[in-house]
């Protein structure tokens, strides 16, 4: 009886943790299989333990090259989308202007459009213009679809900012440029950082739009896609695991530093 009561009270916790397990199961599998020594070309069935792939992560042709290309693309796309998106977000949050509705719609639509539709239409444009598919077409596409997400993240932050803060800066002898540099920008920074991080993640992990605009260029997701047809090297799991671990460690580290800081200040 006590168990039934406990179970009823914690039903939502149990269900939630099961969902969490569902979300994390593939990452566990990826990690475990990074130590596999598969027979044949595909790494889908467990054979025996081996750390070979970890000692030689670039041991597969083109893998590390595609990884480097993806990182490079993600950096430039983040830079571009953050710069353009932040400017739009400030205009939307801080100024009145004509055709506000149309601007909002243009920001909103790319997020509400299935990727394959955007990808297909972008390819139509590039083909019509006779553009050479490759690094630059991918970069253009990535900046395009990351832009809206940056705008959303930055705008939310700027909107929640008290306009009196900027007035206070002006009242305290800061001209428009100083006000922007010393007050507006630092306060909007977390929003800009969030937008940039999101843009980086979206660009780095994008497959569908890249697949249409890449031509014969191979990014890391495209390498993984190709390997799903030709044979999956264990090194893919090594890189997947490493990215997961680094990301979790970075987040935990920033959380620890954040809580230390508030504690020491309190």
């Amino acid at each position: 009886m006590a168990f039934v009561t406990w179970f009823k009270r914690n039903l939502v916790v149990i269900a939630g943790l099961l969902t969490l397990a569902y979300l994390l199961l593939p990452n566990v599998v990826v990690t475990v299989f990074s130590f596999n020594k598969p027979v044949g070309r595909f790494n889908y069935a467990w054979q025996e333990f081996s750390a070979d792939a970890w000692t030689d992560p670039c041991g597969v042709a083109d893998l590390c090259g595609s990884l480097a290309l993806s990182l490079q693309l993600a950096c430039w796309a983040t830079l571009g989308a953050t710069a353009l998106g932040t400017a739009i977000a400030f205009a939307l949050a801080r100024y009145r202007f004509r055709a506000r509705g149309a601007v909002n719609a243009l920001i909103f639509l790319p997020m509400a459009m299935p990727e394959v539709v955007m990808a297909a239409s972008l390819l139509t444009l590039f083909l019509n213009l006779g553009a050479q598919l490759g690094f630059w077409t991918i970069l253009i596409a990535h900046i395009m679809f990351c832009l809206s997400f940056v705008v959303t993240a930055v705008k939310a932050r700027v909107m929640s900012m008290d306009p009196r803060l900027e007035q206070a800066a002006q009242d305290l002898y800061a001209g428009p440029f100083q006000t922007f540099l010393r007050v507006t920008l630092p306060i909007a920074a977390p929003g800009i950082a969030a937008g940039a991080l999101l843009a980086f993640a979206l660009s780095f992990d994008d497959f569908i739009i890249t697949n249409f605009t890449a031509g014969s260029t191979v990014t890391f997701p495209m390498f993984v896609w190709g390997s799903a047809q030709r044979g999956t090297p264990v090194q893919i799991n090594v890189i997947g695991t490493a990215m997961f671990v680094v990301a979790v460690l970075l987040v935990l580290l920033s959380m620890v530093i954040g809580s230390r800081r508030t504690k020491s200040r309190a």
Binding site: D162, R164, L165, Q167, A168, A169, Q170, D171, L172, Y173, A174, G175, Q178, T179, R182, V183, P186, I187, A189, R265, A266
Partner: protein, 379 residues
């Protein structure tokens, strides 16, 4: 930045409209240098807009702002020798207390700010908190940071926009004295916007009561309270009772009024409407000026006092005083405050009473206005 003499704030014909809405009707106002000046009014009366036009945060639609001899109407806020304590403070959340206070000095290119900032933080008793962030301070402490951040620049005028609005009652009382002390100490002109009449009267040398974008009356707190010129001022500052009366005629320095079957006397210089016999007038009297005598003792009321009879409808004991509501033929719900010195046990609801007061305390207002104007705004 204070330049000795001629540092008055002069608003000349200043007005502000947004589209078809007039926030501030053209007004003239002079704030003498070194005074503590309050703009008092309900929300939406135009007081904050007026303040922001002095700060340069709002561009006036018409008129000019002078600081001393300098016309600052077209100057942006960061070029005016004026600083503001903002409503809810607007402290920079990403800077610590020290940097918040140092902000204005640094923007003016002053390099060594440490000594000044530390002195200023000591003045507002926050020396220990210099390295904390604003959100780690209590409301009262944040208020003092906002004050220090503005005062450190030695502005010609300090503007305060509802500076105590976010504090609880006890802290607010304490800060009222504190602000008054600091103002006396630094001698800077303070212009203070508030909707709290008690706050304005406690602190300010001069109060401008604003209503619907206009200044209703300007004067010292005591003058506004004793000689209100409109029913709005009479009701917004404290409580007033109004008796609609007809003018019978003059008698020496007084005006004689008829209300119901009684007769009231009003000093002529306190009558704001021409004393033409037959005209209507609103005779006002503050609740604490009235004495209450049980009807059985009516004969003990001295001659020469204004008197009215009625029945006690309600009595509320508040400690210092008892607040009675009296029904009388000439005025429903007459408010009377009686100090609890010698309480008459017969004065309970239902008792017949005589209300009487010194005629000199009566004031007469134009009967054309609404006797209840300002009652709700003051609530």
């Amino acid at each position: 930045m204070t330049n000795g003499t001629g540092g008055d704030v002069r608003l000349t014909g200043i007005g502000k409209t947004y589209g078809s809405f007039t926030a501030v009707h053209p007004l003239d106002l002079t704030v003498p240098q070194g005074s503590f000046f309050a703009l008092l009014g309900a929300s939406g009366c135009g007081k904050t807009t007026t303040l922001r036009m002095i700060a340069g945060l709002e561009e006036p639609t018409r008129g000019t702002v002078h600081l001393g001899d300098q016309d600052v109407t077209r100057l942006p806020p960061y070029k005016r020798p004026v600083n503001t304590v903002f409503q809810s403070y607007a402290l920079f959340p990403h800077l610590d207390i020290f940097e918040n206070v140092a902000f204005g000095l640094r923007r003016r290119g002053i390099k060594s700010v440490r000594k000044q900032v530390e002195e200023m933080l000591d003045l507002v008793q926050l020396g220990e908190q210099a390295r904390k962030r604003p959100h780690q301070l209590s409301g009262g402490q944040q208020q003092r940071v906002a004050l220090a951040r503005a005062l450190i620049n030695h502005p010609q005028v300090l503007l305060l926009d509802e500076p105590l609005g976010a504090l609880d009652l006890k802290l607010r009382r304490q800060m009222q004295w504190e602000l008054k002390r600091i103002q006396t100490e630094v001698g800077i002109t303070f212009v203070h916007v508030t909707h709290d009449q008690e706050e304005a009267m406690t602190m300010a040398d001069q109060v401008a009561v604003m209503n619907a974008g206009r200044v209703e009356q300007l004067g010292t707190p005591a003058d506004l309270y004793e000689n209100p010129r409109t029913t709005f001022v009479a009701n917004f500052l404290g409580t007033s009772n109004f008796i609609e009366a007809g003018i019978e005629g003059a008698s020496g320095p007084d005006v004689v009024l008829r209300a119901g079957d009684g007769r009231l006397v009003l000093p002529r210089e306190r009558c704001r409407t021409p004393a033409t016999p037959g005209a209507k007038v609103l005779a006002g009297i503050r609740p604490e000026k009235i004495s209450l005598t049980h009807a059985d003792d009516a004969d003990s009321v001295p001659e020469g006092r204004n008197r009215i009879t009625g029945t006690i409808a309600d009595a509320a004991f508040t400690g210092v005083s008892t607040q009675y509501v009296v029904d009388s033929p000439v005025c429903q719900e007459f408010a009377v405050y009686v100090q609890n010195v010698d309480r008459d046990p017969r004065l309970v609801p239902g008792a017949r009473v005589v209300l009487h007061w010194n005629p000199a305390h009566t004031f007469g207002l134009d009967a054309a206005q609404d006797a209840a104007a300002g009652v709700e705004e003051a609530a």
